[in-house]
Amino acid sequence: MTAGHFVVGAVLAAPTPAELAQAGGPPAARLAAWYLDSVQRLEEQGVDFVVIADGSVSGQGAPAGDGVRPDAFALLAFVAAQTRRIGLVAAFDAHLAEPFHVARALASLDHASGGRAGWQLRDEAEPTGRAREFAAVLGKLWQSWAPGALLADRASGRFLDAAGVQPIDHAGDWFRVRGPLSIARPPQGAPVRLTGQPHAGAIAIDKVPLDARGYNSHAFDWCAPWAIDAGSILRLAEIAPRDGPVDPDAVERLRAGYDAGALGGVLLGCATPPAARLRFCRDALPLLRSQPAHPAFSFPFTPTPTACPAPRA
């Protein structure tokens, strides 16, 4: 499916202490100022969602790996209060987290941001099954409140409809969680998943071959039916443009892939320098979006169980 326009996501690598020092202002205010400024700029540039890795994740996704390591959930909630459209995706490792805490934090972020929360399990392919089970528990907890179960009805005194707020009674290899979630159903139903694997209702990221300038080097011959007919997967190609002029041939390949329905957009990976992000949004996006001023972005996915063929490499 498509989101109605060519989607651009951006991974925001954490600033190094030296970059933070350049943010100016009193030292105590620099972390807030740096992230706020960075995400507000992405929003102004037309970026649809930003991905921030949690500080518990080793390596942090930064090319140098020496960026500061804040708590991504708190950071995104802070940024949510001072942005309006941009999607807010927390990336974290299942082996360092507990599903109840994460389900609640992401549901809170989804509420606080008016339905802009997303998530990515960085270790989703780990072999023990913990990540797979983690994701399943998140889904169950978010669904533990049925739509309409929040009543807040003064007259009857019923705050919720107990028939619609049910335990999940999950007992697996890694987690035992009774539920229900202790916060009402998130506005999106479930925050949007960013994944390297095909999951219904998710944004799927494909690492594609890159040319010397960090752009997609090949045309998109992905099987279009996977992107379109599955109905609930938005497929993005991860690129990492270097600084310098936009590569018109690569942009044309993106445009063709989008027009053919094979591709929903791109994810600007963490190796993309801020100046290159800006240049991509300024110079390439107008060519990729027929509607430059996009409507308020929401993750427009309805998680529906769909059998998806595996993506082709």
Binding site: P26, R69, D71, A74, A162
Partner: protein, 417 residues
């Protein structure tokens, strides 16, 4: 003699009482705007900080999993709410609860340090250590311990978190494995979040004397408060601490009116918003005894034999039974009294009367301030700020403006760098 110190005032935002109040859209508790409006009101009133308590299951859920439809849930979880407020107000401090039985010290250190950095140094960590059976059903507790071990473990957790805040790695200890540095800007001692602890028992008082920089506590009377205050402050020199470095803030539920009669009327009306079966169910949970089969207007039945529980739970049960005996309360009356204050002290009356009470507690060396429970939100907070604060400020009981600097600077009068 020097001027008596002003009181520190904290407000509780995490418990929304009387949710059927016509001035509240209870769905708002899931929005950032609800908390932002409260925080702006609190800052207009020059409150020192606001407090987000927490637990990890639905408040209306019983141990067996059954759900009370009438109980309001918690709203945004503490870190999300505080993050949403950090940019909305400039001076207000934030106390958030993170339980060491369900969060690792590393996770707590990273979350609280991030919030501290995002808010320009206005964060306090409310250290909670107890496991709760129904929370255990959602998150495997990291340790299940007796009270003595629990306190020892909490003390180590605080030391680990402080070490991580300071930018250092933490070595393996009795309870926690070694942890690498957080990778965040270092927060040396004077720049760290405040350590807040909540409790009441004699064992808690000893721990607070060693580690707490602010204490939230439930004290029903001035006499109890004086004894508690003397105990904690008295134990601090033995722990190598100046008694001025821990602020004791008992909970105080405040219902205000322009006249005493108006306040009484409001209190009665607020009580009527809670359905009888709901308050009795809550009382049953507090007493560990099912009261639903008894006449609500009849007396409290005797306690079942062999009740366990923590020292704080036992103390609270004894306090409730004493209250019923002293006042001759029926089950319903006791449930309403308990639901209103949960053992905290309460005041119903005029702003001037409140000022008299607060001055009396301060002058009796019973506290350094209060953690205010509002009988409703936002109205109870609006009343407190609009009716009480001008009087408290006029009488030198509350600050008329904020000091510069971090929450620590503001509370302890340290001059900012």
């Amino acid at each position: 003699m020097s001027r008596p110190p002003r009181l520190i005032l904290s407000g509780i935002f995490s418990t929304v009482n009387a949710w059927r109040h016509p001035a509240l859209d209870a769905r708002g508790i899931f929005t950032a705007a609800f908390y932002q409006r409260l925080a702006q009101t609190a800052e207009r009133g020059r409150l020192d900080m606001v407090f987000f308590g927490d637990a990890l299951s639905l408040p209306g859920q019983a141990a067996d999993g059954t759900l009370d439809e009438h109980a309001i849930t918690r709203g945004l979880e503490p870190a999300t709410a505080i993050a949403a407020l950090a940019g909305a107000v400039e001076h207000l401090g934030f106390a958030g609860t993170f339980n060491t039985s369900y969060w690792t010290p590393e996770a707590i250190a990273r979350k609280t340090a991030t919030l501290h950095l995002l808010s320009g140094g206005r964060m306090a960590w409310n250290v909670v250590t107890a496991t709760i059976g129904k929370d255990d059903a959602n998150l495997r507790p990291l340790a299940s311990l007796n009270q003595q071990e629990r306190y020892a473990r909490a003390e180590e957790a605080i030391a680990v978190v402080r070490r991580l805040w300071s930018g250092e790695p933490s070595a393996a200890g009795r309870w926690f494995p070694a942890a690498p540095p957080l990778g965040l800007p270092a927060l040396p001692g004077d720049d760290q979040p405040l350590i807040v602890q909540a409790g009441r028992s004699p064992e808690f008082q000893q721990q607070a004397a060693r580690t707490a920089e602010a204490v939230f506590t439930t004290l029903g009377t001035l006499e109890e408060a004086r004894a508690f205050y003397a105990s904690v402050k008295g134990a601090m020199p033995g722990a190598g601490r100046d008694p001025g470095t821990c602020k004791i803030l008992p909970g105080l539920r405040v219902v205000l009116g322009r006249t005493a009669a108006e306040a009484e009327e409001k209190a009665l009306w607020l009580e009527s918003l809670v359905l009888p079966e709901i308050s009795i169910r809550a009382l049953s949970a507090s007493l560990g005894q099912d009261l639903s089969a008894f006449d609500p207007d009849g007396p409290l039945p005797p306690a079942p034999a062999g009740q366990g529980g923590s020292a704080d739970e036992r103390a609270w049960r004894a306090q409730l039974r004493q209250l019923a005996a002293d006042r001759g309360y029926s089950i319903l009356q006791l449930s309403r009294a308990a639901g209103q204050t949960r053992g905290h002290s309460g005041y119903t009356g005029t702003p001037e009367g409140l000022a008299d009470m607060l001055a009396a507690w301060r002058d009796a060396r019973a506290c350094d301030g209060f953690n205010i429970m509002f009988p409703s939100l936002p109205e109870g907070l609006d009343d407190f700020v609009d009716l009480a604060m001008p009087v408290l400020q006029e009488r030198g009981l509350a600050q008329a403006d904020y000091r510069a600097g971090t929450l620590r600077d503001k509370l302890f009068g340290r001059e900012p760098d």
